[in-house]
């Protein structure tokens, strides 16, 4: 299927949701927030492997930065403790600052890379930091066999491919 060019707004109007892919967390480094860089087979025809891995790796590095244990995080923690945590009423934590950066990055990636290919990344924060949800859209006008709505039936084909996970 030739890649369809869409802007983010056009995507919502003209395309219908075909299926969703969920990139799970990678716990090999402990409880820190990292996502698997394994390329989902459902995206095989939609996006280059390298672009996808690049996105996930950058996200992982952002999360690692947010959860970094070092001098500055200790300082923040001790200062907060000394003020009985009232300082958080006026100050944003380092983690929250990085999360804002992440959401900007995801929006930028969506606009530049994913929407033109009929895909949409959802910020993991909206999914409880459990998964990166990637929505795959089918163009309503061109594709005749697109299935919209129920992802369980449409991702039945993708489920077999995901068996090796």
């Amino acid at each position: 299927m030739p890649p369809q060019v869409h802007s983010l707004q056009e995507l919502r109007r003209s395309a219908s949701l075909a299926t969703k892919v969920f990139v799970q967390r990678d716990y090999s480094d402990g409880t820190t927030c990292q996502f698997q860089t394994k390329f989902p087979p459902e995206l095989e025809s939609r996006i280059e492997r390298q672009l996808f891995e690049e996105t996930v790796k950058t996200l992982n590095s952002f999360y690692a930065e947010a959860e970094k244990i070092g001098g500055s995080s200790y300082l923040e923690g001790c200062l907060a403790c000394a003020t009985a945590y009232f300082i958080f009423l006026c100050m944003e934590t380092h983690y929250e600052k990085v999360l804002k950066k992440i959401s900007k990055y995801i929006q930028e990636q969506n606009e530049k890379i994913y929407a033109p290919r009929g895909l949409l990344l959802t910020d993991p924060l909206e999914r409880g930091m459990r998964v990166i949800e990637i929505s795959i859209y089918e163009d309503r006008c061109s594709s005749g066999s697109s299935s919209s709505g129920s992802s369980s039936s449409s991702s039945g084909g993708g489920g077999g491919g995901a068996g090796g996970r």
Binding site: K20, V21, F22, Q24, R25, Y27, S28, D29, G30, T31, A66, E67, K68, I69, S73, Y74, E76, G77, C78, C81, A84, Y85, F86, T93, H94, Y95, E96, L99, L125, E126, R127, G128, M129, R130, V131, E133, S151, S152, S155, G156, G159, G160, A162, G163, R165
Partner: protein, 384 residues
Amino acid sequence: MSVMVARKKVVRKWEKLPGRNTFCCDGRIMMARQKGIFYLTLFLILGTCALFFAFECRYLAVQLSPAIPVFAAVLFLFAMATLLRTSFSDPGVIPRALPDEAAFIEMEIEATNGTVPQGQRPPPRIKNFQINNQIVKLKYCYTCKIFRPPRASHCSICDNCVERFDHHCPWVGNCVGKRNYRYFYLFILSLSLLTIYIFTFNIVYVALKSLKIGFLNTLKETPGTVLEVLICFFTLWSVVGLTGFHTFLVALNQTTNEDIKGSWTGKNRVQNPYSHGNIVKNCCEVLCGPLPPSVLDRRGILQQEESTAQEETCTRGPGAQEPTTAQGPCGQPEESSAQQNDGSLPHQSAVPVPSLSNTEMPEEKQPPAGELPIPSQDTGQAEH
């Protein structure tokens, strides 16, 4: 509570969150459902401190030093601030999987396990992961429909999966987990110091005043002193012991839940892969490490499409104060009945405190129901 009828009022996400939590101040405050013991905690702290400031402090400030009530006030304010922070904040609840995600995971599980013929029990859903060269199992939570991250556990009292679950504390009226463990620790630490402080200065007060007017007259003049000393005496044994226990846990980077289950102890068990091996580093990480924000988004405005999806999941309105023995809407009766059984299981060995008849210790160490391997549950439902 259905909000599908057209209302002018904005619906926020907390109103539709599943789980047995109470929300106040339009979603800013989040607590467990049973708050009775929390009110008792508040009453004891406020009452004892009020008596101390009203009676003993007046005498001691004049006779000894005005710094005494000042320091007591600082300790009191710090203890109250950390208590309220522990009780009102999100302990690290993991939101339940939305239907799409749950279906995706179900398919993955079926693909790995193969479909089970009708009538047979499905195998327990476990994924194996390797962390720091040790295998850690991830369990699937049937209520939340997710694979629980390592160290997370499902609290059957609040009916939520909580990250780095420590225990459910009825004294603070909330679960203690990743996001509020440091507040909890600082609370019990400052409460220990406050209790020791008040106890000591009560003794000093009685001693000083007795020299002037005699022991019995002192007690007659300020009868509150006896009450304070009694409360402090019993609190001392329990809270100081608990602080010691949690200091031990923090130094080893363990949770109460792991300690009770014996996850990292014993010959054939793996070593704790989360410990840095260094006490100082462990303390720093647990108490001063980066604090992730809540992922629940309680005050977000509910979009229309989300509200239809969440109608199907277990919803709980904040207003209904249902009795704890009632079944949760998701119908998990085994867990709530198991809760009463677990309370009597011996676990004093985990606590380096002489076991007394006072009820504070056992209740505070109450393990979340369903976390301990209960023989009756193993065969049927997967354990939570």
